[in-house]
């Protein structure tokens, strides 16, 4: 039996949160866009630059060897964070977008032919949509989509058997929708795809820092994520790929660090991960990403999920009191965010008013234009939660929204 312990007050770990905005204590509810960074992550970054900074690999001097150890240590740490079989299955990238572009360009370029199908879902972020459109245009492959069942935001899994035809070569989908808050049944989708011989790509940008993510339990072939949405710094993320797939993939960028031999006419490649990391890699930010893994595991990712999802559920319920509100996503279990809209007050007006109360929201299409169009929306406001948010902040949000609605609707001030 597990004992439910009180969630710790971690706000003090995050220097950015120690400020007022427009005269109010900052309430940061834009975590799906980027999270704040704990002092431990910032310190790891500073420590690296102040003590170990040198270019990695091939270095024969002390600092270069230390920097290489730090960088490869971060790779091993990330591998452990997602339960990859080996550090060589982790390729550092600028973030989720670059990781998906890598798969699309390298795996897609080598394996997709005219007439093949790339299967996506209607809830994909533009970063898991546009790279596939690019490779489809180049190879003659076509795109198909698993439908979303309206505002509730669930995938129509009944359609999957019909959609998993022999021409489908790859299925790429989001683990946790940044607009709907839906947590997709990733293990089930990956298992059904694998049974059909289809390679899977999981976009874990929104799930990685908010819930346990175990690539072997999920059974995905590739997984992409960003460090800055999981308490890490910007500019670093990773692609996980199963070793056998990575070893068969061609490079996607050429340069130093990725070759085993270069001649005037041709070159040979190193194995993964170096094959996919041309040029000087972003080792300093990778070290900070390792520190972010430590920080989140210190809190425990199952506990973080209970906290974030609990807040989102509470927000979903409390926002329901506001007249005319339309809330997106599942009523039951959801990731740590809620999108909502009003017929008479635009999302950007909502966000501007909330900002005056020191509350950071996001408004717009959330890089989900096709989904917005399908739902008949031009945009929504979104509140997204993280480890430092509290139930009291949801009360502040609801009170602020109430004042905004009164202002626009001409009710009592």
């Amino acid at each position: 039996m597990t004992t439910e312990t009180a969630w710790p007050d971690v706000r003090g770990d995050f220097p950015t949160l120690d400020q007022e905005v427009n005269g109010r204590r900052l309430v940061y509810l834009d975590n799906a866009a980027t999270t704040q960074k704990p002092r431990a992550v910032l310190a790891a970054l500073m420590r690296f630059y102040e003590r170990d900074n040198a270019n990695v690999h091939r270095g024969l001097h002390a600092l270069s060897m230390r920097a290489t150890d730090d960088y490869e240590g971060a790779r091993a740490r990330v591998a452990r964070f997602i339960n990859a079989a080996a550090p060589e299955e982790i390729i550092f990238t600028r973030g989720t977008t670059e990781a998906i572009n890598l798969v699309a360009a390298s795996w897609g370029g080598a394996n997709l032919r005219a007439g093949d199908t790339i299967l996506l879902t209607e809830m994909e972020h533009h970063s898991n949509l546009v790279p596939w459109q690019l490779v489809a245009a180049r190879t003659g492959a076509r795109l198909r989509y698993i439908p979303v069942n309206g505002d509730e935001g669930l995938l129509d899994l009944a359609a999957l058997d019909r959609l998993l035809t022999p021409d489908v070569k790859i299925l790429a989908f989001t683990h946790l929708s940044n607009t709907l808050g839906t947590i997709n049944p990733a293990a089930e989708l990956c298992a059904r795809a694998r049974a059909a011989g289809v390679v899977t790509v999981l976009d874990a940008a929104q799930s990685i820092g908010h819930m346990p993510v175990d690539v072997r339990a999920l059974g995905c072939d590739f997984l992409a994520f960003s460090g800055h949405k999981m308490a890490g710094v910007t500019g670093i993320g990773a692609l996980y790929g199963r070793r056998a797939l990575l070893d068969a993939m061609p490079p996607w960028q050429g340069g130093g660090g990725m070759i085993s031999h270069v001649d005037f006419l041709e070159s040979r490649w190193k194995p993964s991960p170096e094959r996919f990391e041309a040029g000087t890699p972003n080792f300093a930010d990778a070290v900070a990403l390792g520190a972010a893994c430590d920080y989140l595991d210190g809190l425990g990712r199952a506990a973080i999920q209970r906290h974030d999802s609990g807040l989102a559920q509470l927000a979903y319920d409390q926002l329901g009191q506001l007249p005319g509100i339309r809330r997106l996503g599942p009523r039951g279990e959801r990731g740590g965010l809620v999108s909502f809209s009003f017929p008479d007050v635009h999302a950007h007006d909502i966000v501007t008013f909330a900002d005056q109360d020191g509350i950071a929201l996001r408004g717009g299409h959330h890089c989900n234009q096709p989904l917005m169009k399908k739902l008949g929306l031009t945009g929504t406001a979104r509140a997204s939660f993280y480890v430092y948010n509290t139930a009291e902040e949801i009360d502040l949000l609801v009170a602020s929204l109430r004042r905004t609605l009164q202002f626009f609707r001409g009710g009592p001030a």
Binding site: V345, H346, H348, G364, T378, R403, G410
Partner: protein, 151 residues
């Protein structure tokens, strides 16, 4: 409510947002142009019936925040009957008001938009319909964009 915010959302703006004037497609239009703010998803179409050099009638349609919708609505009330040169001059005044906050010497509803200058991110909202209007006047078919594309 902060004073900046009440400056931004003046009564004139709220009124035009609640009851937009000249909204919808203009059946007699002989010019049309579209404005688009990709980050916001705001859209605005402006329909003109030009008779010679004069705007005989105009309307707008679209969706967006209160600032963008009210601005387009007010614009349609101010430009009816104006020549292309007069419309361009009114836009110049409007642009100065939203970027500097300086209110015009003549009394004008345009002054309601002076509060926008304190919110630089909203200037593109205020000018969206106007850019579409200018494109319609000069018969440029491309979509007017008052911001850079999103990352």
């Amino acid at each position: 409510m902060s004073s900046d915010l009440t400056d931004l959302y003046q009564q004139v703006i709220l009124d035009h947002n609640r009851r937009p004037r000249n909204r919808g497609r203009l059946p007699t239009a002989n010019r049309v142009a579209h404005g688009d703010n990709p980050t916001c998803g705001d859209q605005c179409s402006v329909y003109l019936r030009l008779e010679g050099d004069r705007i005989a009638d105009l309307s707008f349609d679209g969706s967006g925040c209160a600032i963008s919708q009210a601005s387009a609505s007010l614009m349609t009330t101010l430009l009816k009957g104006k020549t292309a040169a007069e419309a361009a001059e009114i836009y110049r005044q409007f642009h100065e008001i939203v970027t500097t906050g300086h209110e015009p010497e003549e009394i004008s509803d345009l002054a309601a938009f002076a509060g926008v200058h304190a919110f630089p991110a909203r200037i593109k909202c205020a000018t969206l319909g106007w850019h579409a209007m200018l494109n319609a006047l000069t018969d440029r078919p491309e979509t007017a964009v008052t911001e850079d594309s999103p990352p």
